[in-house]
Symmetry: C2
Subunit: 383 residues, 2 copies
């Protein structure tokens, strides 16, 4: 096979391809973090993330996976005996429920079929049965199914209750609209390795004053590495990181944010929307069905059902041999769908490349359709 | 436009996209060149080039453009009063004639229509009129027209004469078969920035014992920086470079050669042939005509005629906006053809990407053809 790992193009829903300028920034000379130089970089990077999330709330930048961000968002606000409402419409929304369980709290799980979004009606209905819910968790962009839930409307549905809203925005932020303050989201979590355009290693947790009120509560759970107040105190002390941050990644973060603002955040989001539209149009033209319910399609990951008789691993293998890595289904969707991530640097060229490679692979594994139909449909959208 | 210079994919006939391992190697710590460490690297790199060129002849690695290589090949063997026969079937074969002229020698120029190869019959015919020719120049792979001339047969046609054969192999070596010794080529010149997979900056001149006989001749022209004997003497002294070599480029050269031999030189050449076939098949399916005469197509650069009514610069602009850089025509072919380079890292993915982008651009500028036909034809070849 010609394409080695270092030549394979990532069209999975993260990690993503990284801008050469970000690689360069990450390789700059590592400097001390207790210095004015680094504090300025940390401040600028944090302000960039705030812009991306549409918030004036503080952002804790923690060294770890996106899951550390979800863990910290919950560990800092949970109290023993809390009622926690978890909407589960895919593998990633399940994770917040798992974290709640790990703290010995049985979450109230509202299961929603894979492919469907969390809807405000469902939130209202759940609150009627459970009016004392302290925390509600949702996944904004469910990466396992390619579904975008209407976070603004979900947040509105929570108004009047005392519940905090904790949102997993790991694959939405920097690729789709996020207006944390306007929408009234209390905890918004993202990570470096998706639309933020970095390698994995950083988690971002933005937290509202309402969320802060619950922190440092004597009835709360112990936190240390994941203590949001420690990060907030560091920022107040003058952009001090409580623990040694991955300095190279922070350099890269600032450069990636610079690149985002050069393109323009609005342009960037519109590009992600357009690329999503091109993929959906291509797959439909090829006779495939999309997993996500219409009007709730993610703009950063597209999921299509594999046609009857197509062997999933054979299909993925051919795509991989053609130099592109895409993702399969998770859980009960394993072998039934494929997922294409279109985050960060994915533009028209990558869409046409991926669609033509997927066409080639489907032809090779014996699926019958009009060759060229997918590429032509994508080209139409990109016109 | 989304694709900045550092995101644009190079599908021009050089410079080419560079393997990440080569970038890494070029950034290694610069070491002194008068050391055993560097001498070993220079020796290994030279032995790698010899394998690629199919020769046991020495190779002078000079710091400069490919044109320095052509200049040195000729300046070292030319003598005042020489008859020099130059076959010109494109812009690059013209260059050797220009160099000869610069030394005050009027070359005997045999013009061959653009798109056609140099054929052994033409060489024999020219030798009949000019039996005392001292040097014959040809371009193995004429990058301006996408034509590969049969170098082996050309060399055979020269047998019996006293003429040296000087071949420009800048875009053939490492992408197509070169057997310098078997074919009896006296001077074979290549450069770093084409199929060798490096940035520009290095020229390679391999020279036969017959060529060496003409060097250091009192009737020859003065040489210094371009003195092949100085390089040969350095090698004999223990892999000493006469002038400071671009150390990073030499590190990269060795790594690029390592990558070539990992793939296998034969596999690499077959891949270049296959990608050329896929491009030709795609363009023909889209109703385009190829410039190169059948059976003499280059395997590293494909040239197609722009359809009537298609504005060349508008077409190139759309392709460029889609993130791919291709080349236009040179000289009288300006505005009439486009050229796609498929060298070094170009595999099935890049072919499908480029063909689908070219399809998109041709649709956008109003050319009528069956959309998807090019991609499907390429996919058929890659099956």
């Amino acid at each position: 096979m010609f394409y080695s790992e270092d030549l394979t193009y990532l069209m999975i829903p993260g990690p993503v391809e990284i801008h050469p300028r970000v690689y360069q920034a990450m390789n700059e000379h590592v400097f001390g973090h207790r210095t004015a130089h680094f504090r300025t970089i940390l401040q600028q990077a944090t302000e960039g993330i705030q812009k991306v999330l549409g918030t004036v709330n503080p952002v804790a930048i923690m060294a770890g996976s996106g899951t550390l961000g979800l863990h910290a968002a919950l560990s800092n606000v949970l109290r023993k005996g809390d009622e926690v409402l978890c909407f589960v419409n895919g593998k990633f929304s399940e994770r917040q429920a798992d974290i709640v369980s790990a703290f010995g709290i049985e979450p109230i799980i509202k299961e929603i079929p894979y492919g469907e979004p969390v809807l405000p009606e469902q939130v209202k209905e759940a609150l009627e049965t459970h009016p004392d819910v302290a925390i509600t968790t949702v996944c904004h962009n469910e990466t396992s199914t390619g579904v975008l839930s209407p976070l603004k409307e979900i947040s509105e549905a929570l108004k009047g209750s005392n519940s905090l809203l904790s949102a997993d925005g790991i694959t939405s932020a920097a690729g789709d609209y996020v207006l944390m303050d306007d929408w009234g989201v209390d905890l918004f979590v993202s990570g470096s390795q998706k639309c933020f355009g970095l390698p994995p290693g950083l988690a971002f947790i933005s937290h509202s004053p309402k969320a802060d009120e619950r922190m440092n509560d004597p009835n709360g759970f112990p936190t240390y590495y994941d203590s949001i107040p420690l990060y907030s105190a560091g920022i107040k002390k003058g952009w001090d990181a409580p623990f040694t941050p991955p300095i190279g990644l922070v350099y890269g973060l600032l450069e990636s944010l610079n690149i985002m603002f050069e393109e323009g955040l609005e342009n960037r989001i519109k590009r992600h929307h357009k690329m999503g539209e091109a993929f959906r149009s291509a797959f439909l033209a090829m006779g495939l069905s999309l997993l996500a319910k219409e009007n709730y399609h993610s703009n950063t990951v597209t999921t299509a059902l594999l046609p009857e008789g197509v062997n999933s691993s054979e299909f993925s293998r051919v795509v991989r041999e053609m130099g592109i890595l895409i993702a399969g289904g998770q859980g009960h969707l394993k072998g039934k769908i494929f997922r294409v991530g279109h985050m960060n640097l994915v533009g028209p060229r990558e869409v046409l490349m991926t669609v033509s490679v997927i066409e080639h692979a489907l032809r090779k594994v014996g699926y019958e359709f009009t060759p060229g139909s997918g590429v032509t449909a994508a080209s139409d959208v990109l016109m």
